[in-house]
Amino acid sequence: MSKKDNRVFSNNLNLLKLCFKASPKYTVLSIVEAIRNEVVVFLEFTFGLNYVLECAEYGRPFKDAAIFLVGLLAFVMAGLWFNAYLYQKLEMKAKPKIKQALKEMLYMKAKEIDLECYDNPEFYNDYVLAVSEAENQVDRLFGMLSSLFTGLTSIVLSGAFFIGNDPISFGFIFVAFVASLIVGKAVNSLNFKIRNEKNPHERKLNYVNRVFYLNDYAKEVRLNTEVSKELLKDFDKVNDDILAIDKKNAKKRFWLQYLQSYICNHFIIYVVYMIYLVYSAAVLHRISYSNVAVMLTTANRMKNRMRQFSDVYPKMQEISLYVDKIHKFLAITPKIVSEGNRPIPEHPTELELRNVSFAYNEKDGYILKNVSMKINPYSKIAIVGYNGAGKTTLIKLIMRLYDPNEGEILLNGINIKEYDVAEYRRKIGTVFQDFKIFAATVKENVLLDFEDAGEDKKVLQAIEKSGFADRLHSLENGLRANLTTEFEDDGVNLSGGEGQKLAVARVFYKDANMIILDEPSSALDPIAEYHLNHSMLTAAENKSVIFISHRLSTTRIADKIYMLENGQIIEEGSHEELFTMAGKYAQMWKVQAGQYI
């Protein structure tokens, strides 16, 4: 056995072990059911039919046949009860549990890995695939197990039957099996080739579909009446291309299909084997003619089961492929780990960036170059700059979502790597630019934790400060109101501005030393922004604050402003200092403020 095969088996075995651990009863009984079912089929169609025919042919008393058949009926009925119990109860309960066991493993890992992994599309696609396919793999595994044991049982039982009756029959079955295996392989590889050829075209079709059915494009399509013409032209062309691929392969496909469906199946069993049977019965008188029917159906069934059995290994390979992906994902070691376990200072302390450089991907160049800054405790720092200057990346480094390629970040004079990551982050309150409202209650959304993790009073205070209070009062269930319509049809959907206020409440609630805000007021109208800025400052009196904003009116109140350009700090100082410097900041300020004066 090659190393590759070994891996296939061990991967399948591992998944099976996981299933067994989550639900041993279901795992074992589903195998029992596969065997039971095949035994019944054999007892009815081969052994039973043969027995009754023999009773008739050799004139045995009817009682014998009747007792046998009634016994068989009782056995089948009992078996069907087992079948119903297995599929209507046990499976219904076991499958969600097994899938949960698998997914929990993946989810726990997802929490642990570095954010960097999400930036790598290749990795990310693999992960998404592993997660989305995890459930299907469990179903596949049980399907595979069923085929395996059905096939084995059939081969053993039918095999015994033919050895007892007519071993030559084996030859026919074997030839049919091998032939269909070979042709089947050719068919599969042709289909695979066609699928691959069609793939890029189908992607394009899906795109056109999307443009027409997504709400996002609906307005554009209506207002720009000509735009759909081009899309439809593309649509036509792609369809022609797909048709051309089918036409090109039609002939080969036709003959392969004919070989597969007729010659390898029907022809060998119903023509060649049948002639052999008739010859054996009518000319050689080697087998009784009532036996002909039994042997024909048994041979046909055995051939089909062998075919099914031969599919087991490819199925295992397929499962193994996904298990590999899951393994690969689980094997990721996060780079951002706590290198020490120093206690986080209770109160805000100095944060320093020393010659920090960073690139998401060295190939694409550095986003931050040699950045140094010192943030005094309790100070209010603003970071400003053009789109793409590296502002958001900078705060991601401070949050330790990434580690710098060069240079270091120090908290209280100690490299932030020396602190426990989770503890370090717990002391930072933040609102991301792309903040998310979760499908949970208002309170849970503020806590980002279970309801009992915090007091209502404190949550209400935070909500009051963030300006969400008015909206809260309009909610029937107050803090317990369910947000989003994901779970509850009567859940509340917040507008962008309202959502942002709620997200800001999270920061007010959190007992953090430092608050980091990335464009917190972008979705707000002017008055709401004004209120938010005010309350932000009061709430942050005894905290350090770093904020990014395009609106210089927001940033001017900072103790110190850093102006970024192309990943470097080009100017720093208070608003007044920068203003008198008459550099880029002053220019930007004038552009914005000039219009108000």
Binding site: F45, V52, A56, G59, F62, L69, V70, L72, L73, V76, L80, N83, K89, M92, Y107, A110, Y118, Y124, P200, Y207, N215, K219, L223, N224, T225, E226, S228, L243, A250, F254, L256, Q257, Y262, F267, V278, A281, A282, S290, V294, L296, Y386, N387, F435, L448, D449, F450, E486, F487, R506, D525, P526, I527, Y530, R551, S553, M588, V591, Q592, A593, Y596
Partner: protein, 614 residues
């Protein structure tokens, strides 16, 4: 009783829907329908022949001592016939089906697209309607053709079952009675089981939605940061756990009944029939000796074939019922009567817009929740007008009403003094160009994204100029293929991935490029930095000659130079005039402007803790 009636009605509807599918496919490809029918017949003929007549003839031949040659001759003929059948099947599967699939797909989706473009925007925003529509789109061609297959399989299945039964009848009239058992099994217990499946599905909808949501939170990049900064991960795991528990509870709820029905269904369709007929046949052969061995063997296979045909038919009907639901959505969508048809004909408007007037316009998305409230205003001449106001004041809705993406609930909108409903809609919309807040770029070239398929005398220059106006020309020039660069990596690995701000600028360029009499900019700077924003508004002002300009902005500084400012609140205009006029009025606009400006002015008291909540 009532439910029964409803049930009957819905069954009739399902049948109607399936015939609708056959009709639709027939319109597109007659060949496909005819061959599907033929293929179904061939399939059943082969099945019944092989399991009933073939074996019967051969065994009979041996039993009665006919010559081996005769049997061989018969097998030979069968070989020729079925070989031809198989060739036909192969032709069907590798030539006819793939070819017609593409044809059907193309035609069907073109119809869907045309319809999607023709229904009013409201349908897209109505979650219920939209869900049904996306369901109609999802695999429509596949489901349509499947419907045709089910249709014929059920029809010919009935015939095939009749043939199989009658062949049994000729062997033994009483044996046909055994058919009652699988019929009861499938239709009574099978029907009951279907109800249980339906109940389980409905009860689990919520649980599954939960699990799917948690799954999304766990793997989408946009949630990853939040997970690292909070305990939300555990909360979500807890939700997932609840959903699994919910699944288990549903399983328990139906377990008893489901086990009994499934068991009864299987016993009546399989066990009673097979074992029953064997006992009966054994009795006839051994005791009353009224049946030959060949007949006994045949009867057994014929019986099992009949049962399988019945099972197959039952499954087909179940599938057809499921498919019928999809067809219902498809049909509802296709037969939906547009309230604002995109193809609506009418007066061809003058290409020059002299005036726009809203006359006591009210509008509501949902009943009794008015978004626009008795709104009246008039714009005359090529002016620059700004709409300002709080979030949710109804600014974007006014734009949608003006474009006739919606019709007002009451009141009327006049362009050049004529109600806009009177105009030919396509021609009317050509009067406008727009940059929407929720900008979307298409996976096509930059140039195409700007020109959007419109005809221009000098397309290159027009696009270049427009990109310059929106401030992204330099960036586009720096791309290897310039304006011919394909946007997004969707199809082209060399496609350009531009930042949000750059994408927005490209979308805004559309409005600059299109020769329109009214240009609308809905928050065109939401993703831009201050300098870019400033330049963009400068561009809008510079280009404002010769047409009406309408823009929406939060940032009041950009509004100052507008000829006319409309301040909105709760869906109606509360103040209007020039910036100067409004400032001297000392009203809401003035307050809003002052608050924004405050920070830019040298107000020393600000930010030193003197905070009040008005």
């Amino acid at each position: 009783m009532k439910e029964n009636k409803k049930n009957k009605k819905s069954k009739a509807r399902v049948f109607a829907n399936n015939s609708y599918a056959v009709k639709t496919v027939w319109e597109i490809s007659k060949k496909r329908v005819i061959h599907t029918a033929l293929y179904s017949i061939v399939g059943y003929v082969e099945w019944i022949f092989m399991s009933v007549f073939f074996l019967r003839y051969v065994i009979h031949a041996i039993e009665t001592g006919a010559s081996f040659e005769k049997a061989l001759f018969f097998i030979g003929i069968c070989f020729v016939v079925f070989s031809l059948f198989a060739m036909y099947g192969s032709y069907m599967n590798s030539v006819l089906i793939p070819y017609t699939n593409t044809k059907i797909y193309r035609e069907l989706y073109k119809r869907l697209f045309a319809k999607a473009r023709n229904v009013e925007l409201r349908c897209f925003e109505d979650a219920d309607f939209y869900n049904k529509y996306t369901m109609a789109l999802d695999g429509a061609a596949d489901k349509m053709t499947k419907s045709v297959t089910f249709f014929f399989d059920v029809i010919f299945g009935v015939v095939a079952a009749a043939v199989a039964f009658s062949s049994m009848f000729f062997i033994d009239p009483y044996s046909v009675l055994f058919v009652i058992s699988p019929i009861i099994g499938n239709f009574v217990f099978g029907g009951l089981m279907n109800k249980i499946w339906g109940g389980r599905y409905t009860d689990n909808v919520k649980n599954n939605r939960r699990a799917e949501y948690v799954n999304r939170v766990m793997h989408l990049a946009e949630y990853a940061k939040e997970i690292r900064f909070s305990n939300i991960h555990d909360l979500m795991m807890n939700r997932y756990n609840e959903s699994v528990k919910g699944n288990q509870a549903v399983a328990d709820k139906y377990a008893k009944k489901a086990i009994v029905y499934t068991w009864a269904q299987n016993v009546t369709t399989f066990a009673l029939v097979f074992e029953g007929i064997m006992i009966y046949a054994a009795y006839r052969t051994i005791i009353s000796q009224t049946m030959g061995l060949a007949e006994l063997a045949i009867m057994f296979t014929a019986m099992s074939t009949s049962s399988w045909i019945l099972i197959g038919m039952f499954n087909d009907i179940t599938e057809a019922l499921k498919n019928g639901e999809f067809l219902e959505y498809f049909r509802t969508f296709m037969e939906y009567k547009e309230k604002i048809s995109e193809n609506q004909d009418g007066i061809i408007p003058d290409t020059k817009v002299h005036s726009i007037e809203f006359r006591d316009v009210s509008f509501e998305y949902k009943e009794n929740e008015p978004v626009i409230n008795h709104l009246s205003f008039k714009i005359e001449g090529d002016k620059v007008c700004a709409l300002v106001g709080h979030n949710g004041a109804g600014k974007s809705t006014i734009i949608k009403l003006l474009f006739r993406l919606y019709d007002p609930t009451s009141g009327e909108i006049l362009v050049n003094g004529i109600n806009i409903k009177e105009y030919n809609l396509k021609a009317y919309r050509k009067l406008f160009s727009a940059a929407f807040q929720d900008y979307k770029v298409m996976a096509m070239s930059v140039k195409y994204n700007v020109l959007m398929g419109e005809e221009f005398e000098n397309p290159e220059e027009t696009a270049e100029h427009a990109l310059q106006c929106s401030g992204v020309w330099e960036k586009i020039q720096s791309l290897p293929k310039g304006m011919d660069t394909i946007m997004t990596k969707e199809f082209d690995n060399e496609g350009a991935l531009l930042s949000g701000g750059e994408q927005q600028k490209i979308v805004v360029a559309r409005a600059f490029a299109k020769k329109a009499s009214v240009k609308v900019f809905d928050e065109p700077s939401s993703a831009l930095d201050p300098i870019a924003e400033y330049e963009l508004y400068k561009g809008i002002m510079d280009e404002s000659k010769g047409h009406i300009t309408l823009f929406i902005s939060h940032r009041l500084s950009s509004v100052k130079d507008a000829d006319m400012v409309f301040m909105l609140e709760n869906g109606t205009i509360i103040e209007e005039g020039t910036h100067k006029e409004l400032m001297s009025k000392n009203g809401q606009y003035c307050e809003m402007f002052t608050k924004q400006a405050q920070n830019y002015l040298a107000d020393e008291s600000f930010g030193k803790g003197e905070i009040s909540h008005e």
